[in-house]
């Protein structure tokens, strides 16, 4: 695309602090081919003789830029963050405790509400884990439908991230664009499972429902139109001087640090580590899909943005492949240990009725054992860890929350940056408090 570049835009970014603890501001330029380059930082004069007290500022728990009920207590020297103490737990709802009192299929509605931007992806992740614990295999149509579900879920989650991050940094339009696309995905989900947000789309051993007639045409239509929105947002932001100035050089994590802090997902990949659960510990036959794992090279907020934008495109690619290969056949496993008999048989045949009754009232029982199955959620490596003692309810249902671990690095990432950059760094983590506090 040979667009005529207009101008050289100069913006200011913050690249850490100097020896005196002052923020180093680096002018940056956008050259004609779109590359971002840095000018030589102008030398700072001698530090002025200013003595002052550090100031405390409290952000949250009710603050629009904390994406929920996160609370950050910041110690500031002027406008530079010296220390950051995050407080979480304001949305602790005891998911893991409830899981110990519910049968496996009954837990699925809770997985919707835990990372509520990725509801249907959590349903799938839960079912994969539970199926491994039960030793059940699902039919190929179910596997492909689950891939479609996970990638749609990744798209709507990244769209919320894009919209809210843009609002945090002062751009309103991408919010409206991304929410419009989300409504399109919601329409798809609603015609499939009947709910917009809290889908509860899967069961152990299958899906709650097969897709309705004509659904794949709607999905193809979405796959065709969605990249336009991504391109529009891309045109608006990627080479925008303000956007670049407010995101480059912020919250840098080197690849070693990122691994050591346990970061995952786009946060880890922006730091140059090409770890994607879909590639390295595959599930749902992801190894047979053709897609790429975008990797950043600076580990800053801008790279995280680029990685997520590219993931939106890659997800669309996976969706296109999945809808083309969608086979016919049943969506539920035929394993009678976990699957209910058809309603018509349960109503007419005594054995099926007893089977139905026992399945519903007592619940399927997995063998004694434990599984930890990670999946690549939009936030990173999400894992459900089940421990079973042979009864119908898990002894322990543990959620490995990616954004919880990602958020724990925020104290390190914001140190030395300006207060306004804290908002950008916090937004780049893509936190969901429902998942962090559980």
């Amino acid at each position: 695309m040979a667009t005529k570049t207009r101008t050289v835009e100069v913006a200011l970014g913050t690249a850490g602090v100097d020896a005196d603890g002052r923020a180093v501001r680096t002018p940056m330029t956008v050259t004609e081919n779109g590359a971002v380059s840095t000018l030589e930082a102008p030398p700072l004069g001698p530090a002025p003789e200013l003595q002052g007290e550090h100031m405390l500022i409290n952000i949250g728990p009710q603050h629009p830029a904390t994406h929920g009920v996160l609370r950050l207590v910041l110690e500031l020297d002027g406008e530079t963050v010296v220390r950051c103490v995050p407080h979480i737990g304001y949305l602790h709802c005891g998911f893991e405790k409830i899981g110990e009192y519910r049968q496996y299929n009954q837990i699925i509605p809770w997985t919707d509400r835990e990372d509520y931007l990725n509801s249907i992806g959590n349903n799938v992740a839960f079912s994969i884990g539970a199926e491994r614990l039960f030793g059940v295999e699902v039919p190929p149509r179910c596997t492909v439908l689950r891939v479609i579900a996970m990638e749609l879920s990744r798209i709507i989650s990244h769209l919320v991230w894009l919209g809210t991050t843009c609002i945090d940094l002062g751009a309103f339009t991408p919010f409206l664009w991304s929410f419009q696309e989300r409504e399109n995905v919601y329409n798809l989900l609603e015609s499939w499972v009947g709910a917009r947000l809290t889908t509860s789309a899967t069961r152990v051993g299958g899906m709650a429902a097969d897709i309705p007639d004509g659904w794949t045409d709607q999905l193809r239509n979405f796959i065709r139109t969605f990249p336009k929105t991504v391109d529009e947002c891309d045109r608006m932001l990627t080479r925008n001087g303000i956007w670049i100035g407010r995101t480059t050089g912020l919250g840098v994590m080197s690849s070693d640090e990122a691994i050591n802090y346990g970061l995952s997902g786009p946060m880890l990949r922006a730091s140059g580590v090409a770890y994607d659960v879909r590639k390295d510990f595959p599930y749902l036959d992801y190894e047979t899909y053709d897609f790429e794992v975008p990797v950043g090279s600076h580990g800053d907020v801008y790279d995280r943005y680029l990685v997520r934008m590219e993931e939106l495109r890659q997800s669309t690619r996976i969706l296109a492949q999945a809808v083309d290969r969608l086979p016919d056949g049943p969506v539920n496993s035929s394993d009678h240990r976990v699957i209910l008999p058809p309603k018509s048989r349960a109503m007419s045949d005594m054995e099926s009725m007893i089977h139905h009754f026992k399945q519903v009232m007592e619940g399927p029982r997995p063998p004694v054992g434990e599984v930890y199955v990670p999946v690549e959620s939009p936030k990173g490596e999400k894992g459900y860890y089940f421990v079973s003692d042979g009864t119908a309810k898990p002894v322990r249902w543990r959620i490995r929350p990616p954004s919880y671990v990602n958020l724990s690095a925020i104290s390190k990432m914001v140190e030395g940056h300006l207060l306004s950059d804290v908002i950008a760094i916090n937004a780049s983590i893509d936190i969901v408090m429902g998942e962090i506090d559980r």
């Binding site: 491994r132 140059g272 580590v273 190894e287 322990r396 690095a409």
Partner: protein, 233 residues
Amino acid sequence: MTATFAPVLPGSARPDASAPSTPRNLPEKGGTANPSAEAIAAKFGQAYIRSEVVWGDTTVYVRPDSVLEIVRWLHDDPSQRYDYLSDVTAVEYRDPEQEMEVVWHLRSLPFRRFLRLKAPLAKGSPLVVDSVWPVYKGADWIERECYDMFGITFRGHPDLRRILMWESYREGFPLRKDFPLRGRFSRAEQLRQALSITTEGRYSMEELSVAEAFEDLPEEMRRRLAGGERTGE
């Protein structure tokens, strides 16, 4: 502008291995064990209890007092390179006779391996294990959560405070099996206690230093702070 990082590729230590694929028809017990299990057994004979393969994942049971040593070796040794800590959690069983277990999920990105480490905490002994924070910085919050939910003390953790429940939470450790689902107190009492939390509590200069050196404070002050008292101005 910041430095550019070279990409780090998982699986780089085993370039000849076949590409990973979705596991199918895993056996309930048995199967290919992770070679690290044998290596731990050979190197730490005293601390090693047993290992098993469940649904394709290898679990190694070790004694709780040598966990840090084993984890450090797994992290540093060039033949192991478990550089990524996925999770730390605990399991309490419904059978009150069964020991509580602390679970570490370790991952080696260069070898693309996954290892579950378990340390049973003997009945009646204090719930204490070593923190793996000196090896993995990511263990900070995960261990705090485990402390908050199970009451397991992680020795050597820099800042072991409650994280999800508030500091003055008095009902106990929610994920323990003796903790009722609806809590110990009546709803009215729970609400009364919750409403008495000062919303500005732990929001002061002292709080920041307390976060660093809570354990060094005198016992009496720790008790007052844990009671939710406001400090500072």
